[in-house]
Subunit: 240 residues, 2 copies
């Protein structure tokens, strides 16, 4: 019993420093929509994805690598970039074999924070690659941090629900003394049968659906439609 590794859920990047990140596998979660898009693009054959936190870096790196640049603010492609944050923009016919430089805000920040705090591995998760994340955590037998990106550092429901979906499957293999994990798995268990309806009540849905992104958001909470594991290695997310 005592030898099971610990698992914690971190509800906001601002809380990461309170948890034992060193030596842990950190799962970066940004369901609407960065980590859903990352899983989808890699699943559809993108050679790699470079997440950056800044639009100018994105443009510069895109030019240097002859890569696709992508990023949105308020539901629109950022001026000077080529594509948006929608998983639907990255079918195999378009993205296979290509490099994507993606600007995200909370997700990228959290990823860098996890590395600085000594994470053993950083991977990304969302519903489309739920089982790939679960299988990886089960195989590693290392401590786990489920890191929710939130919205501007605030708690959000969709990232917490994904943490709960992971915990529901891996709980028996971990020591979980963590109220946030308990809450997350209870929330997910209560809502999983009606996720497509439930998620419409989140604040993020209200912000994004006015941009006509309903289909996108529904996809982002659909489990296992892009089961690949994005691992962050030397500044790049690659499929594993």
């Amino acid at each position: 019993m005592q030898n099971k590794p610990h698992l914690y859920t971190v509800l906001s990047p601002k809380l990461l420093s309170l948890y034992p990140v060193e030596g842990a596998v950190v799962v970066i979660i940004d369901v609407f929509r960065a980590t859903s898009t990352i899983a989808t693009a890699l699943y559809n054959g993108a050679s790699k994805i470079i997440p950056v936190d800044d639009v100018e870096k994105c443009k510069a790196l895109g030019a240097q690598l002859n890569a696709i640049t992508a990023g949105e603010r308020d539901g629109k492609v950022i001026e000077g970039l080529q594509y948006g944050n929608s998983p639907a923009e990255y079918p195999r016919s378009f993205i296979e074999g290509k490099t994507l430089v993606l600007t995200t805000t909370n997700g990228t920040k959290l990823l860098h924070m996890a590395l600085h705090a000594g994470a053993a591995e950083v991977v990304t998760g969302s519903f489309p690659n739920l089982n790939a994340v679960v299988a990886f955590l089960q195989a590693q037998n290392k401590p786990v941090i489920l890191g929710c990106s939130g919205w501007k550092d605030r708690f959000n429901l969709e990232d917490t629900l994904f943490a709960g979906a992971v915990i529901q499957q891996v709980a028996e293999q971990f020591t979980i003394h963590c109220d946030a994990s308990k809450m997350a798995v209870e929330l997910y268990t209560a809502q999983q049968a009606t996720m497509q309806q439930y998620i419409r009540q989140t604040t993020h849905w209200h912000r994004l659906s006015k941009f006509g992104l309903d289909k996108d958001l529904e996809y982002c909470v659909t489990p296992n439609v892009a089961n690949v594991l994005p691992r962050y290695v030397n500044g790049e997310l690659i499929a594993s």
Copy 2:
């Protein structure tokens, strides 16, 4: 509709700066056990309670005011102080007419943070004074921040449950665009019928119950047994 004031739930003191505190009524929540003890002592006739964040300040102020000093670490009275953090230590026969200087950690810190951020009113809440808090928020018609003290800045279930209990009663009078509030009220609604059992699964219960505090903890989640409103005025909590 649009004119209803906003209500937000802040799940950790570390997240307070993300929310619009200025001009709001801030409810400080520290169910196990500071705000339960505060409500109980004032309900039983304490003339005032001075919350301090430091043991030496507590001793100095106690001597200066000829007041009762109280504080615990790990379930034991701190050396040099007279009493602990248990609501059961403050019956009317003992506390009536007296001043209590109470050291708390997270609760006092959050209280000072709320004042610095421009809160219009700071009050304290826990299950024993649930309806007093609800009635006050309904009467004020001001924006509300429900501030959970958490445990060492981590999310905890018991403070979140109390936030949910408040929201369940006041939701119709407020504009609530806040995923944390939605989660809190769902959690409380799901668990309220079996709170005495549910609360035994929290990490805080596991930390405190080994000190023989089960009765204390049960009391702290019992609604409306000490319905007074502690308001923070000029450095003192007084009954309102």
